[in-house]
Assembly symmetry: C2
Homo-oligomer: 443 residues x 2
């Protein structure tokens, strides 16, 4: 009887193991990323899980004769001797003794992926060819960095006593209202795709006190902009027993600091490919919405046309102001007008026209919306009625309030959006592996 014991054996090593094997004959597996023919020898660049590895073919090293079966796009096992790279300090390479071709492509690449970066191709071509363009090391680095952001968010919240939840994406109601909700036929009944996990994370506050989720949300955005995706990854948390919504802002700031440290520690090679400058997060300044409007008019002489929200240009102004005045890439703006915030936002008892809420601006662009929520049943029902909503439509959500829940609040952070701004992309699609927009559902 055969048995499986869970031991992951491999005859080969990875590039990280090279320094310990200098002078030894070993093997390594990877995709042939590039072949550079020189006079009398050749470089065979392997693309492995995270590195590219230089292997050198020369008849001087062995009797092996490389032929045209060894081509770009092949999966190969290369055997050879590990040596120091004499031309690049601290790097290692392999002198090829033999190459075993494990699989071969049917066609040559449809575009060049093995230069430092992709050529300046139209975004639609890039996205249409994602299974290929992501093979470029700089392109794939984006989503390794994105992995790190989500990992940091999760690890930090675990350290703060949060429980990870996974809430349904097929829902009977939308949590955020408005027209941007996808409808779905569900065995003859109309249901919706979740716009956010808002209801569920609130319902779970009386259960676990602190909860978070990293998962997809769906917004039927009818506009084709550079900032919106119709499906994106939302990093959400919700925490009970807060003293004020400042507790939420502190939790987020702690998470962001942890994320930046994690990226520096574990994702330095990927960041270097993008020459990304990670923000230093010190003390983040806090300004009230109306005070921010005053800064915009008084210091920047801009006429305010809308006192209910910011225009993108105003956020840019505030970003510059935070950098100049406080040396901060980040700025918390608090106390947004009630009429522009959702029905579950808690109004400020000191001035109910405003809410106990905040946005976080990063380099002048909003990356988070959060705040304290209403926990009192009667207060929530009254606010729903005042907005023309029928509390009966929200029966299971309101169970949380009806049977008792602590003062609480939380936030949502778009994973693609923070990736985009960290790497300086002009279009959020570059921060999504397989973006969905009004015109695109492939690949």
């Amino acid at each position: 009887m055969d048995t499986i014991n869970g031991q992951n054996r491999t005859d080969c090593i990875g590039y990280k193991d090279f320094p310990a094997h200098v002078g030894e004959t070993v093997c390594i597996k990877g995709m042939i990323h590039r072949i550079r023919e020189m006079t009398g020898f050749a470089f065979v660049i392997l693309r492995t899980a995270r590195e590219t590895v230089q292997c050198v073919y020369s008849p001087d090293f062995s009797d092996y004769r490389m032929d045209e079966s060894v081509a770009e796009g092949c999966a190969v096992k290369v055997t050879g001797k590990v040596v120091k790279d004499e031309t690049r300090e601290g790097r290692y390479e392999m002198q090829i003794h033999g190459i075993e071709v494990l699989s071969s492509p049917a066609e040559p690449m449809p575009l060049v992926i093995n230069k430092k970066q992709l050529d300046n191709i139209p975004i639609d071509l890039d996205l249409n060819l994602r299974p290929v363009t992501l093979r470029n090391p700089k392109e794939r680095a984006v989503f390794k960095i994105q992995e790190g952001i989500a990992r940091g968010f999760r690890e930090y919240l675990f350290s703060q006593g949060f429980t990870e939840i996974r809430t349904p994406k097929i829902c009977a109601q939308g949590a955020e209202g408005g027209a941007n909700i996808f409808k779905l036929d569900y065995f003859g009944k109309q249901v919706f795709l979740a716009q956010s996990p808002q209801f569920y994370k609130q319902m779970l506050v009386p259960v676990y006190e602190r909860v978070f989720e990293v998962g997809p949300v769906f917004r039927a955005e009818h506009h084709d902009t550079s900032r919106h995706l119709n499906e994106y990854i939302s990093m959400d948390f919700e925490m009970g027993f807060i003293d004020s919504f400042y507790d939420i802002m502190n939790m987020e700031t702690g998470a962001l600091k942890y994320i930046m440290e994690l990226l520096k520690k574990d994702y330095a090679e990927e960041l270097a490919l993008w020459s990304a400058q990670l923000p230093e997060i010190g003390d983040i300044p806090v300004v009230k919405f109306m005070d921010a409007k005053e800064v915009i008019t008084k210091k920047f002489k801009k006429k305010i046309t809308d006192y209910r929200d910011f225009e993108p240009e105003e956020e840019q102004i505030l970003g510059k102001w935070a950098k100049k005045e406080f040396g901060s890439d980040f700025l918390f703006v608090t106390h947004y007008p009630s009429e522009k915030r959702p029905f579950y936002a808690m109004d400020d008892p000191a001035d109910p026209a405003y809410t106990l809420s905040f946005d976080l601006l990063f380099r002048g662009i909003e990356i988070t919306t959060g705040g304290q929520r209403i926990h009192d049943y009667n207060e929530q029902v009254a606010k729903m009625r005042a907005r023309g909503m029928d509390p009966a439509d929200f029966e299971s959500y309101l169970m949380a309030h009806k049977y008792g829940m602590p003062p609480h609040g939380g936030l949502g952070l778009g994973l693609e959006r923070i990736t985009m701004h960290l790497l300086g992309f002009k279009n959020v699609r570059y921060a999504s592996m397989f973006p969905r927009d009004i015109n695109r559902v492939t690949p």
Copy 2:
């Protein structure tokens, strides 16, 4: 100017801190889970994020007088002295000096949640009242354990060089075929909800070699069974450069061993509430599909009516056989018939009627399906055509094959299903916080 520095301050402590504060006056926050009035004193049981904490009210301890504002369902801050619980070895309690009510419920609980377990209520009532029933410590423990399973899966795969991916749930094609796919109107175009991340994880093998995802998948199951959900969490991985599909089985076995160790280490209290017996995972026996059929006929005298797949009863028989013959809760069955496996499964070159695939049975129930996939473009196109599929419909998926991908394979593991069997539930709905079935999209 106010600033936020990311320091999470709290004036109170948690139950885990009690041993270090014996004899001191501290505070703790929580939901009032239960009040037990005794003669001249009362127990006030707090439900905190992960523990229930016994607080004792008695006029002997302080001048504080508890009144009816302190009720079950209130969120409170209790101040008092930490003492050893004289009746329960190793436990601590608080002598109440004062209670501050932070919020109050609008109504008393609609059912009893503060006993050791919920009363034996109909499943529909339990699920309808999920925001309430999950407040029972034994109920909420299910999803804390589920958190641990997913965390273990992720942590193990990170340790093995995998990259975490997040693939789109709105798709142009279904990956698994069949009728159980949800259709969605997407700006006038028909699209689908992902049945699995299969295409995407394969496309990403030439990019990152090893990838995994823990995320929702959607199946339009028309049957109302105890084993199926219409939305569930799939734990998927895919790995390149395998020597055979045994590499996948070893990776899964390593992951399962890690998960069980993690549960023992970090989730012991939750497991104890369910008296859950975690399986010991030693060497897992492996049997070929046709040999397993022979075991069923020869050793168990059952007549086989279908040589293409197992009936649930046959899996039960194999589970008992594995336990009796090999002392194993797990059994790998390999080489399933080609006609019952998906179009991307690799046929066995030694006998193309069977595939290089496996199922993992846990206590006689299938929890995983996996195997080696076709990596050669022409082979994949030929198998599609043989099944009446048009390769043109899968253009972006086939880019992975066309431009080269290594030998690879992977698997999917249903998070709710493994939770269900670990805790011995008869219905998978108990292993989903907010289950979706043909009749249910709420809460």
